[in-house]
């Protein structure tokens, strides 16, 4: 029997297109996923490692990112009197967190800390499959016999099955600007792809570099095979012939000699 803390359902393997070795993220999906994050997740979860500048050229245009940054206020450097003032955000600022600190976040969420989502896909076993399963895996009713502590919700994919976050994604919760129908699974897919991007913004470069390494090293490998065969060819093609030092006398003559001595 597993301890209750480790009781969980393993997530299914989903055929993610962007996980393939030769595919990048679907950037339209990233844009939708960021919209879901901003409208749904961002009320509790921070995304503190993503600056506005990294959204430019991946998810939105420079003007859009600048406008979004200016909606929020950030602390300035201390001025001549040592006072810290507020200024509108710039592209170099990081996305604002919903809570001032972890304690405030716990206090606002019944003691549970909503984790930062910047690296969430890398931080959980199962990665994108796990987060997708978690978001879409809330049952209507907890199954018979399941113990759900007060203030927690039942989710079979969460270790221990009691999760503080309630189901948040419902059909048509957000309205996509590109006309995609916002079903629960569509939103979950988009936000998971977006979170995968936020955890691995370097994925494209990594995959490209991997292919280049494979290409170059396969040429070098072929070359090394050729060199090896070239160097070994005299050894591989030589013939060793055994030449006995002398022909031994036939058995019968030895016996004859022995018989002569006896006589």
């Amino acid at each position: 029997m597993l301890p209750a803390k480790r009781l969980r359902l393993h997530p299914a393997q989903y055929p993610w297109e962007h996980v393939k070795w030769h595919k990048t993220f679907d950037h339209a999906s990233l844009r939708r996923g960021f919209q879901v994050y901003r409208e749904v997740c961002a009320s509790c979860h921070s995304l503190s490692r993503i600056p506005y500048r990294s959204l430019v050229g991946n998810i939105m245009t420079v003007d859009e990112a600048k406008a979004m940054a200016e909606e929020n206020e950030y602390d300035t450097e201390p001025n001549d009197e040592g006072e810290i003032e507020k200024r509108p955000g710039k592209l170099s600022d990081y996305l604002p967190s919903p809570y001032k600190n972890d304690e405030a976040a716990r206090a606002g969420n019944n003691g549970a800390l909503p984790p930062d989502l910047s690296l969430m896909i890398k931080a959980r076993h199962g990665g994108a499959n796990y987060v997708f399963s978690l978001l879409t895996g809330y049952p209507e009713e907890p199954p018979a016999g399941a113990v759900v502590p007060e203030g927690l919700n039942f989710n079979p994919y969460f270790p221990g099955t009691g999760i503080a976050m309630a189901r948040v994604l419902y059909d048509d919760l957000v309205e996509y600007e590109d006309g995609t129908k916002a079903t629960t699974s569509q939103m979950a897919k988009d936000v998971v792809e977006f979170l995968h991007w936020s955890a691995e913004p370097e994925m494209d470069e990594r995959k490209k570099m991997g292919w280049k390494v494979l290409a170059v090293s396969s040429v070098l490998f072929a070359l090394s095979v050729w060199v090896k065969r070239y160097k070994w060819s005299p050894i591989k093609t030589r013939k060793l012939v055994y030449q006995p030092p002398y022909a031994p006398p036939p058995q019968s003559r030895i016996l004859d000699k022995l018989n002569e001595k006896k006589l």
Partner: protein, 65 residues
């Protein structure tokens, strides 16, 4: 045979020209390899990258101005 001999005489005979050949061809091959692999990547991922969809979002501000 004649071509390879002339090529040898022009590029590889003297150490300075050989070194120049090595560096220039390394630069050129790298450039060709990188841009070629980028091109393959872009063909495979056509329609998925930001540069393929940004037109939709770039045009709007221009219309407003």
């Amino acid at each position: 045979m004649a071509i390879s001999t002339t090529l040898y005489n022009i590029f590889l005979r003297r150490n300075t020209t050989m070194l120049a050949t090595v560096f220039v061809s390394a630069f050129g091959l790298q450039l060709a390899f990188d841009s070629g692999s980028d091109k393959i990547w872009n063909t495979i991922n056509k329609g998925r990258q930001w540069k393929d969809i940004k037109q939709r979002y770039m045009e709007k501000p221009e219309e407003e101005e």
